[in-house]
Symmetry: none
Subunit: 206 residues, 4 copies
């Protein structure tokens, strides 16, 4: 039954991801999670201790999925900076597309003033490879004299993250307002291009 216990634990986590990303910490229901996981409420307490502890696990889990996005650009000597930026943007867009729960969880945490994230050691322990890629690109570009001397890595990361993240985080209020279909392939392309131009503009002239 060791496999069974592992499976139950995983089922609970999956159900929790769904429930917490949908409703947030306050709105989520232990009953719903148990029902969705196909198990008993007691199991949740046995494996995770409490609602909040389970929520922490979900955050951890989601954040770690970002850590797994690999961005190999630095070692490729033939790549130019414009392509690097494109690749980084693509990677991040793709990641967010593939992880709608991540987007929501981060939003809940923002509203929660990142209270839970701050409590988690692992989260702040590692740096996401995608951010490291930006950092090494900026360093290299500055060394090569291609990027301006006053360019600050954090502004690039900020632009990247918010530029891509916004696309997903305003999924409900904005399209409604502007009549945009955010799943339209053309719109995505335009958005990526605008972000690319913005970042490359900052890097070269900023």
């Amino acid at each position: 039954m060791e496999r069974n216990s592992k499976l139950t634990k995983q089922n609970i986590l999956n159900a929790a991801i769904k429930e917490f990303s949908d409703k947030g910490l306050a709105g989520a229901r232990i009953d719903t999670i148990a029902a969705d996981a196909g198990c008993n409420k007691g199991m949740i307490y046995q494996y995770y201790g409490s609602k909040e502890a389970l929520y922490e696990c979900v955050i951890k889990y989601e954040y770690e999925s970002l850590l797994q996005v690999e961005v190999d650009i630095v070692n490729d000597k033939n790549m130019n900076y414009m392509d690097m930026i494109s690749i980084i943007i693509d990677k991040y867009f793709d990641f967010l597309f593939a992880h709608p729960d991540f987007v929501k969880i981060i939003m809940w945490e923002n509203l929660n003033e990142a209270r839970t994230m701050k409590n988690i050691a692992t989260v702040s322990g590692y740096k996401a490879p995608i951010i490291e890629a930006v950092e090494s690109m900026v360093r290299k570009g500055r060394d090569d004299g291609v990027f301006g001397e006053n360019v600050r890595t954090r502004h690039v990361v900020f632009a990247l993250i918010t530029g891509a993240f916004s696309y997903f985080s305003n999924r409900y209020t904005l399209p409604h307002l502007l009549g945009m279909d955010l799943d339209d392939e053309k719109i995505v392309k335009t958005q990526k291009k605008i972000l690319h131009d913005s970042i490359s503009g900052y890097l070269t002239k900023g």
Copy 2:
């Protein structure tokens, strides 16, 4: 003990804005709102009917504050397009700075899949003047031949809104990650400049 129904109603609304923007619909507590408004719980039900109805009023109220941001750029014949963009960006940044509750409420609504917003007639009835300003600017610029023919208003609005909004909506998770002080005057300036460059780039070349 004052007996002033208008005042009480306003006190309740103010307390509700605070509570709902802090905790969201699910996390907010009627007791907290009553205590904060300095009145009895019954008053809330007498004046607003239910927790959800009060939440709707808060959303309506916040959204209407955006409608009051006036942007007079079109009538000024001497103004050039770059200045127009700056002014619009300034106005919106200023608005968001002055209305942190607005930012949060919009975020809650995004997570709520805009369920409540959709139910409110007024919200979708009017168009915010700041958005109309963008629209008329784009039209004029296209007519003047300064902006590209393929420029789409909605991309500009989208860039404006998300570019500025992100600055505030990621207030808790990002600075923590990037070590930025979002209240630093310099950072604000840089951010505005990046946004300005991005939008003007799209408008003239996009």
Copy 3:
């Protein structure tokens, strides 16, 4: 304004009759009564003291309406017993037809184990003329040797009251079950006849 105060008091009583006969003591709402009376809740407390006290007034008022049903049969020397019975039945049926609130209030009191009625002095003080008519008829009939010696007044009253009352008190559950239209003139007639036969049977043979 003295007339006004009387009017208000009467309006409240009327509204209370409606509300209490519809919903009973527990289900009635002071707000509804005030709204229906077109006055303020405070007035109810000023004029009647409390919800229960108002309820008592309603009961009193309704019961007194029964006391006003006059049945002049005894003085009419030419009338035979069968006609007397008919007249008494008619009177009572007519009264109940005209006073649906009376029927309901009595029913509420029955469910309430007559707790409120018992507390009211006036109610038990007088005897309803219709009951006195039955009593004097029975006495006279027995003296005349027309009615059996063992005939008990109270059984006649009981038969009269329940026989007529049932017709109205089961207004909702029975027609639904039996497919009877209790407002149909023919049904009323049959019912009266059955009751008449039953009572006269008891009186002469019982």
Copy 4:
């Protein structure tokens, strides 16, 4: 502390029958029911969903008790009509004697304009055996030429039901008024006899 869901559910139902028949839907208290059932309020909601849903169950349950009154008269070839009527009356009196809650619940429903009963499928689905007994007796008597041609089943049922029901439903207001002890065996007998004479009179001459 027993953990027995069936028992708990039954305890709740029993307590609910008591509370609802005593106080009606509006006057009944969930707390009282829980206390009387010896369980937690939450259990009531887990097993029955809401106060109203519990009330519906009570009505269903009571009504079904009537369905279980068996009246085997039709198959007995030696029985004459007068005895049949006696048996039916006895059965129904006995049932009402044994089920005071039934009487009260039906009364509440009458005051409630049978709103809840109407919503219950089962209730209107089956026909009570005692009513079927009356129907088959009337049919047979008419075929045999013993009962009048114009005799209507529904008047018999109506007379039976109201005649017996009244005896119990006016338990509190009438004895108080007439000085009758409704538990006195003699009174019951007289009442049954009056009802028997009334019904047989209608059937043979009506």
